[in-house]
Symmetry: D2
Subunit: 365 residues, 4 copies
């Protein structure tokens, strides 16, 4: 299936960094969901480069929905969103064609596509394609919210600087969804931005960890094998360029805990079963248990640097160095946040459709 | 697709802990691959409980291949392996039916299946089902080896005790594949076993981190979006019970590194392009780059303890405590190793079939 | 996906004619559906060879459900059914190994599997594998009936002898489901049996057309493109060996009709929208319109004959003749009926799960 | 998967009759295939309304490939084609919103989408969407031709007027691919056109049968169960609006033949295995046997007539009559031809990629 993902609610991605459009087709979405183009635009704004801590490439992301919406609502048929590319400077990349950028997809793409790939700006591998994910994810996210399911992501850490932990999830999620630089602690946010700028000045870059919480997820969604909630979420999340790790609940920290420390005891509270702790991130046996979903993704530092780097010239077979001249990001962690939210929304909308049927998200709660 | 996974080489799992059989159907495997039943048996032995550091449940895993093999070779049609369950003591679990074990799938399964699930021994959620994964994975693994692709996994850490890092991968993989308790350092292995026994005596349990290396993987396999190598591997790996995190290359450690530190410079060595370091774990842009694949999974401590734990009685709505009386494992990390190997082999065989076609693995290298 | 079919309710087939078992895994079926083993046995009996008009091979089809059923109901996890093969006489087929039977799969299988396929009794291509389809289809069919959806199939024609048309569908379906030789007209049935015997005596065989009606199918199920109801039904139906044509409603007869003759006018009757005729077989635009589904499949005459046939010897490259010595059927049309019913039930259960969610079929109507 | 089809080479369709664009995403196609935009344009021309025997709606089909092509070749990443809609007259359809057209998708769509569907010009159900299939199918078809696989389709019959049978396939296919009204006999073609005009004048419409031949298809492609060549071809072909039957080889005619008449004897000719006849249409056991593929589809007469037809008013619940005022086709059989060719090309490209891997179609033959 390659560039299509999902069982019932599916997304197909297309487009290259310097082509006329990037876009996505969202299929299997419930008919009758309101499509709020302002909300989509706002989500795209969160993904766009922002001031000094981002690339200088400026795209207005003037998206167009060309199918699947009628009179402001989803029709239930495939919804295609196009986002034009305007501010492309392909000249910057010409010299790189035979000189793959270290830690980028260039060389792996050459091996896979035998030179037929579009090399301009990373082509189909460009992070720009995530704009299409954000656009269709925004539609799913709004629909989930109408059913009481909310998603929020913060920068848990950025090059060692750490945000505070989640406290009250509903308030924290609301706070994050109004932030352009998503930290729960304003001080941590300022330190992170300063850190990014420091390394930008040196031609370097930084990464970090994003932490996501989902509240309102009904219990009983997911599968015991293969299509576990962890499995389908991680499958999709690893599509986001630069993500190299995904963990649920306490994740890798569980490896150092005793079984007695890692327990999530069940308690009956006001007639509902809850767990007193949430070391498992709301998922047991691959299936939601009704507690908030909690997961984290590791974002590697952006590989494009203006520092000269060692590479090879594929045409001559010689070792060479190259320093990026194109516009690039000293950090993408703050931009990747809304992509994680969008991918989460798409996957959860799909899982809910698998369990509750194709009309659930447009039915009144 | 639920309990079926893969694009070209697919696995379908079935069976419950206390049913007559667990099993798997492997479909899409190349015709003409030798099926080495001794090797399958040996892999199953590595997964089976082993002495004092495991559950007392003893299964001989006398598997039977009931289809898809003729005259000792795969036919190319679906290969079904059955593994009978013998040593089942369902009486142990009767009292637990309404009392979900904390951090187990019991409660999530109740929410999903509305009471229709088989509760005996965890039913379909039981780790016992992984025996079927190991059996079919062994067939894929042998076929990959015949094409020069080798997989090895060690216990990188167990409740804080750390194994040495990989040095020479081909030698380390050979060493691991002859070990029943897979550490690269014999001393670390002894300390881990002692640690497991210490916590077993207290009715507690431990987890750890498994690290996998794959050598010989051709460059150019994987997809840019969704079916990235990281995505498909993690999707399958999260099916293994107790796994709560997956990371590739330096994974979460990348979050604290600078771009200049995380680079994998390309170098030309003996006419081949290699990377001088492997922070990205052999994958760029979702696609193999020809370097060894490196990834780690976090294994949580086994949740079944003889220490009394807080839970609820779903029939009365009361808070209660329960202490496991069934046989259980103080650690599964050493047993999970061969499951990680098997799942890796299945996923890589699938990805190779996607790229090179359905006959590749039985062709002469 | 090869030997697995379906979106939400999936079937995976395995097994060879002369292996220890053939079987199927049914996944994604609603939890809590009653499993009536007598009904499954009765459906298998309808598929089994019956007296003088069938092969002499006798199988008791003593199936065993090895997973996915607990206390008489589906658990919602994968349900595996095994059917042992007993009455195998592989010796009959030894001489055929290099001499592919005309109009059989032997030669195409040789091209695909390069000689690795199991040649005994047709191996995985054997019609015997349809027993597994019948067994899991019976579970789906019972569940559909509990929701008011009924399926019935008759032999519309057999070597030119024609059954009467459907009249009152509910009565006709009831009648068919109690018949071992499914015709609506007893006289037509007798003539067909006589015709089969006549050609059997000459070492020859006959085919025919099966016509299926489904009542109670809710309107609004199916998709506009690709996963049209016609598309998914035909995809699955063409798996049944010997089926070479599928048509819906008036099918090929529509090619000779005028638009004004082929209309299905909508009428309001007792507050419901119905169509006055049903030339479209209950499907418009790929989606059910609430009228009965009507479709027909063409079953070719069984290719195994005792008349000598021209073929080639693949080992010598010579033209040769061969006459079947194994046991074979002079007609399978009456046996194929219950396979068509079963496949229909599986596909419709899947489509309903896609639309109404994974629990629908076990909910009270 | 709904509006996406295929295993390795996949197509995703989107768009509505009166939206800004219809389009398709072709994914998984080999990198490096030449993309001949003139050929695509020519194929689209064959699908477009042509003179007096078609609708008056005129579209230029000025398609744009917005991704997946670089320097005139496929990149191997998703290829999106957009085709703008210009000549839309939505006013014509306003009165029909509550009055479903008999034998159209209108009412079934209402049941599925609960009124959220785009009703203008049939919305996503419009035959106009097949332009996108033709465009991406043209790319597959050219790639197949470069590997020696050729597809040709003729109008076997139109309202009872019959074309001659295929004689020499390579010559016949060449002839058809240069014809705008695809018959092998020019006289039959003239009679068919006259027949269409006759019924057009009466406000009526006609259908017919299309017959397709594929030469050069390698033996050994397809699967024994579910993904049989017949199954996957029919699944896709039934997506084409108005198709109500699909048959392979002699299809429904086999039902009246004896086994001895329906045999395809194998013969050794010039060192190759061939069959002396081709009653099975080049497919045995779901797998290609190296002979030409032969299949036919039944195309129902177009349901939109200017003759008044009985329907219901969904808003009032009353029986009403309606006569189409929009532009419509008295026959689509000649236009459907190139859609059948395109769908065939997509499916065969997919099956070949499954068997031979993702790069096969761009490798030199």
């Amino acid at each position: 299936m390659k560039n299509t993902f999902g069982s019932q609610v599916t997304v197909t991605l297309f487009g290259e960094s310097h082509g006329p459009y990037i876009g996505a087709v969202l299929d299997g979405i419930s008919p009758g969901i309101p499509v709020d183009t302002d909300y989509i635009a706002a989500q795209l704004t969160l993904r766009r480069p922002s001031g000094s801590i981002s690339t200088a490439r400026q795209e207005t992301d003037a998206f167009e929905i060309v199918s699947g919406v009628f009179e402001g609502h989803t029709t239930g048929t495939p919804l295609c969103i196009l986002i034009p590319n305007h501010d492309t400077k392909s000249g910057d990349y010409d010299s790189l064609r035979n000189r793959p950028r270290p830690s980028h997809a260039d060389y792996a793409a050459e091996c896979k596509y035998h030179g037929a790939q579009d090399p301009r700006g990373g082509g189909h591998f460009s992070g720009r394609v995530t704009a299409a994910l954000v656009a269709v994810g925004a539609i799913c996210r709004k629909a989930l919210e109408a059913r009481g399911i909310q998603i929020g992501t913060h920068i848990l850490s950025c090059h060692g600087i750490r945000d505070r932990a989640f406290h009250t999830l509903s308030e924290d999620i609301a706070l994050l969804n109004e932030s352009t630089f998503p930290t729960l602690s304003p001080e941590a946010g300022q330190q992170m931005r300063a850190e990014i700028l420091t390394h930008k000045e040196q031609g370097d870059s930084v990464g970090g960890v994003l932490e996501t919480a989902v509240i309102g997820m009904p219990a009983g969604v997911g599968e015991p094998w293969f299509d576990t909630l962890e499995g389908v979420l991680s499958h999709a999340l690893f599509s986001i360029p630069a993500i190299k790790g995904v963990e649920f609940g306490d994740g890798f920290a569980l490896a150092d805990m005793l079984g007695s420390e890692a327990q999530d005891p069940f308690r009956m509270v006001d007639g509902s079963v809850i767990t007193a702790t949430n070391h498992n991130g709301g998922i047991n046996g691959g299936i939601s248990n009704g507690m908030p979903l909690l997961y984290r993704v590791a974002v590697k530092p952006t590989p494009t640097l203006s520092i000269p780097l060692d590479t090879v010239d594929l045409s001559t077979g010689e070792n060479v160095t190259l320093a990026a001249k194109g516009r690039h990001d000293p950090a993408i962690i703050h931009r990747a946040r809304v992509v994680v939210d969008a991918v989460s929304a798409i996957v959860l909308a799909d899982q809910i459709a698998v369990h509750y049927g194709s009309d659930f998200l447009s039915q009144k709660a």
